[in-house]
């Protein structure tokens, strides 16, 4: 007779999604720059913004209230609605 144990996990099945194709050009792209509120993340994103705008992209800036928590749902929704690409400054 086999032995039986109870599964301690969430029993969640992870959905695998394929990545979107890389854009061939920055023309017409709206790029969201997400500052996670780590020190000096803004310095890094300022530089990126300059270069992206120079390359013809439109840039929108966003900021998480704190780096210690996931971005609020509303913020994620706003970025997804308004941007075609997003870049997140991860850490100091």
């Amino acid at each position: 007779m086999s032995k039986q144990l109870l599964d301690p996990s969430s029993e969640r099945r992870v959905t695998e999604r394929t990545r979107l194709a890389r854009p061939t050009s920055l023309d017409g792209q709206v790029i969201g720059l997400l500052d996670i509120s780590k020190p000096r993340g803004d310095v890094f994103l300022d530089q990126l913004e300059q270069r992206l705008v120079g390359a013809g992209a439109a840039v929108k800036r966003y900021k998480k209230p704190t780096f210690t928590k996931p971005a609020p749902v509303d913020l994620r929704h706003e970025i997804a609605t308004n941007c075609t690409l997003v870049i997140e400054a991860l850490a100091d």
Binding site: K3, L6, S9, R12, T68, K69, P70
Partner: protein, 485 residues
Amino acid sequence: MSTSPQPTQPVTRRPTLPDGFVVIVKEECETCRMVAPLLAQFECTVYTQDDPTFPHSVSPLHDADLAVSWHHEIETVPTLIEVVDGIEIDRTVGWSRADWQRITGIAHLGDDLPVMRPGCGSMSVDPDLVDSLRARFGGHLLQARRIELADLDDEMEAMFDRGFTDGLPVVPPTEERVLRMLQGTTRAADEVIAVVPPDLVEVTVEKIAINAVMAGCKPEYLPWVIAAVEAICTDEFNIHGVLATTMPVGPVIVCNGPGTKAIGMNAAGNVLGQGNRANLTIGRAVQLVVRNVGGGRPGEVDRATHGNPGKISFCFAELEDGSPFSSLATSLGTPDGANAVTVFAGEGPRCIVDQLARDPESLANTFAACLRTLHNPKLVLAFDVILVVGPEHARVFAEAGWDRERVLAELHSRLQLSGEDLVRGAHGIAEGIPVHLRDATLAKFRPGGILLVHAGGGAGLFSTMIGGWANGDVGSKPVTRLVGK
């Protein structure tokens, strides 16, 4: 004589008893043997638990799988039950001549027997059988997926292979063990307790019980585990951030209330160390819930640079007996005498030595000097701390009449620091606060940022500090929850 066949499928619903009188007996019981001759003197249905032919004077039904006894909560044999329209209306256990005469309505039933004889334990509550019976008749109530292992599989290795452990062996969570664990709470197995980050999965009492079994908990610890899981899954505590940070912190659980003694927690010698089952397994169960249900695993969302050994388990009780201080939980607003857990995002403990202090001023100076170094002597306001005051140090304060509020006020007053010493670059150290704060006076800790706890062994002029993580809205706040049943 007739016997009921052994069913191949467990009887999961309460079988209806036949109308009239029902008696449950076992041959092994002396009281049952004493009343056996009476059972032929009135119309009754007799269920026998052991010998299918007992009593020979009637035609007993054999409760071979103990389904009748289990579902009708027979704890003692003999039990006499009166049933009308399928519903029990009266019951007596053991032999009480008055009760048997009253229920059966037979005036002289058993007049030759003693007035009273206690019965024996029903086989359905036999400690050797009860776990398997609970699984047989209640296993269907558990919703978790079953993991089938072959006979030759080693359960311990199987749990490691599936990534369910914290690096130490776990107790295999069988139906029997999980159902026994659930006896520790009155809450329903399917009640949702919290949503566990980082995967944001609802955790039920059952899933907590499974992980509590694995951690090695006893059933009476379960309400404490549940309260701690509830506490860490609040937005205030922010277990997601506590996991994801590169700092070496995890949930530190401080337990208060009389229940800590009732479940055998350690608040005294080696309080933060090994050797006490309740301390170690409650903390471990909480961490296993984070790992297994929430999906918080090292190298994944857990990005700690070093971590600390307390991330396996870090849970202890406050020594309330003989403490000169009000307890941590009451200072945080719980009623006196309540059982409560306070969770704190903390690193490993560090000893504060002062073996010469005999007056409170000197000892407060030592505490302040050590507390000032927390994480970096030049960083202020960003981190809370648990200060575990040992009994010998506490006595120094007590003898001078210093209570919790006085000790904390004295420490805070000694931890007002000059910006000049804290700014970036000062004392040849790049780390520090922005230079524009050079002329400011800054507190090392926010108001309420020192959580004083009385605990430890009776010998040793030592205390301990447990540094926190980013505090307040930015990071994690201590959270206190009452322990339910």
